[in-house]
Amino acid sequence: MLGLSKKDLNLLFIVFVLTMCAPFILNPFPEGSAMAQFNAGYPDLMQRFVIFGIFAIGFNILFGLTGYLSFGHAAFLGVGSYSAVWMFKLLSMNVIPAIVLSVMVAGLFSVLIGYISLRRSGIYFSILTLAFAQMSFALAYSVLTPVTGGETGLQLALNDPRILDGAASSAGNIPVPGLFGLEMRDSTFLRLGDWVFTFNVGYYFSAVIMLLSFYLAIRIFRSPFGMMLRAIKSNQQRMNYTGLNPKPYTLAAFVISGMYAGLAGGLMAAMDPLAGAERMFWTASGEVVLMTILGGVGTLIGPVLGAGLIKYMENIISKINSEILHGWFAFMPDGIEDFMVAIVYPFIGKGWHLTLGIVFMLVVIFLPGGLVEGGQRIARMFRRKKTTQDNTPGTTEPAE
């Protein structure tokens, strides 16, 4: 079905169920309970899960298949966001044209950067992409202020033209992005006992787009084109002497992953219509590298898992403060309680990066194939008798 093998179809189905049931899965603890702070089922965070999932899926098409490590992918995300906001300002608050423009502009931008950067490979390629991304950041932050809004970022204003729906904006409020009347920020709540589940329009819109992106990524992985990209990673010399030109292949992969990043950027703007230069900063480019490696380079579902884990830690662990810690350790004698809090404290709140760093190190050292490899090991333990070869390509290639 859908042109996929049974195994891939199962994978797609799992991702489908996970995304569609996310409001339940991510809200396992009742409202008001001590564990409620570990709930991640609120729209803002769920949107981020799927949007960064798209970003990481696209990045993995370049990095996972060809082995070219781009350190400037956030530039395409930022360009996508700016394009979408401009579309909201000039044309319409409908998200469709905004997202289409984001993808197109990011695509064009990645043709330019890719064409130049792909003249080199390995570390030189990474540095070139990093340089381009930092240049884009600097441009967006200062020089191009009329286009990008500079330090304050690009925001909507009441007197924006919005040619297609000018009449609607006369109401006095800045309109919000929507899909043919459905506002992205709209939510429905479902109360079951102490549990509250939130179903947000923006989340489901993003989730459907992520499913489509994921489906497309599976098709690319299984296509002749995807095999050529893996061949480039494996042996460019043989590629050349087999009558194949690696350059257009790598450029196509670069542009496709740039368009994925643009799509993610456009969706971010559609969820919250403002765009700032910090989206292009090099840490944002580094984050998607971490997501991909953490989840499993070159695997299909890995980047999505990695994106989810990092965004979860960023939003949940960073919210734990010393008061909450004292609450957890309150059952201990005073001295020991303070001691425990003092030990754990550096890893929470603003120290969540420390936790992320440790998790990242543990994964890279003990599970070079990322979370996916962890999952495969657990699965193998459960069915020892039947050892099947895993078909996920290039799972044991950590950072390059």
Partner: protein, 251 residues
């Protein structure tokens, strides 16, 4: 006129004249060996033929067209395939995928943005790859990662990959280097079989005289960047100049 015509080719690396003034003509559907002591310029000559190096002087014509100034993949698409000294295969890919890539390259050209189709449903390509694997006696290894093959199997796979492109000229760079005697003999048999069953020209660079004299129909002896003699194997064996430059050392 031969399928491959090398005229007055010279190549200099800094102070070293790697190739002096090489003239070589490889007749169509023949097996032509290029031998010579270490540093004679055999590999430099080969690299000039496939576009890895560009000679300083002279011309290289394949089937009436110049190969100079073309990129390696363009030269390959003209019908020249190369087997390397150490097998160059796609180690991370399965044996079957390794065999499918040259089939795609031969059918679809140097670049194809075929990003949606399922490669395993391309029956034409899969069947071609399976046939070639069968011919190479590797059908049972098709799901293995190519990197985990034995040295001899890697060589077979590489030769099979080159053949599945249906080249007109097959260049072999010391195909038996570092092989055990049994593997060497297997490779000789394989190459003999290829020569008998196909319309193909084979140019082979080799150190091992056993290989050269069991395969070649014509031999060019290269020494210090210039061809010493070119003749049939029988004549080469007894040639005094060759003994002096090459076989003399070996014996």
């Amino acid at each position: 006129m031969g399928i491959l015509e090398v005229k007055n080719v010279g190549k200099r690396f800094g102070g070293l004249q790697a190739l002096g003034d090489v003239n070589l003509s490889v007749a169509e559907n023949s097996v032509h060996a290029i031998i010579g002591p270490n540093g004679a310029g055999k590999s430099t000559l080969l690299n000039c033929l496939v576009g890895k190096l560009i000679p300083d002087t002279g011309s290289v014509m394949f089937d009436g067209q110049s190969v100079l100034g073309r990129l390696p993949h363009e030269i390959n698409q003209m019908g020249i395939s190369r087997v390397f000294q150490t097998p160059e295969i796609f180690g991370d890919l399965t044996v079957l995928e390794n065999m499918m890539i040259p089939c795609f390259a031969q059918r679809d050209g140097a670049f194809g943005l075929n990003a949606i189709a399922d490669m395993m449903k391309d029956r034409e390509i899969v069947d071609r790859a399976l046939d070639m694997l069968d011919e190479m006696n590797m059908l049972d290894k098709r799901e293995m990662h190519a990197a985990s093959l034995s040295r001899g199997d890697k060589r077979r796979l590489e030769i099979g990959m080159c053949l599945s492109q249906r080249p007109r000229l097959l260049l072999l760079d010391e195909p038996t280097a570092g092989m055990a005697r049994a593997d060497t003999n297997n490779t000789i048999d394989l190459l003999k079989q290829i020569k008998d069953e196909r319309d193909i020209t084979i140019a082979i660079i080799e150190h091992d005289m056993h290989v050269v004299f069991s395969l070649a129909e014509r031999i060019t002896v290269l020494a210090q960047g210039t061809p010493l003699v070119e003749d049939t194997p029988d004549k080469i064996k007894g040639h005094p100049k060759v003994r002096e430059a090459y076989l003399g050392e070996a014996a």
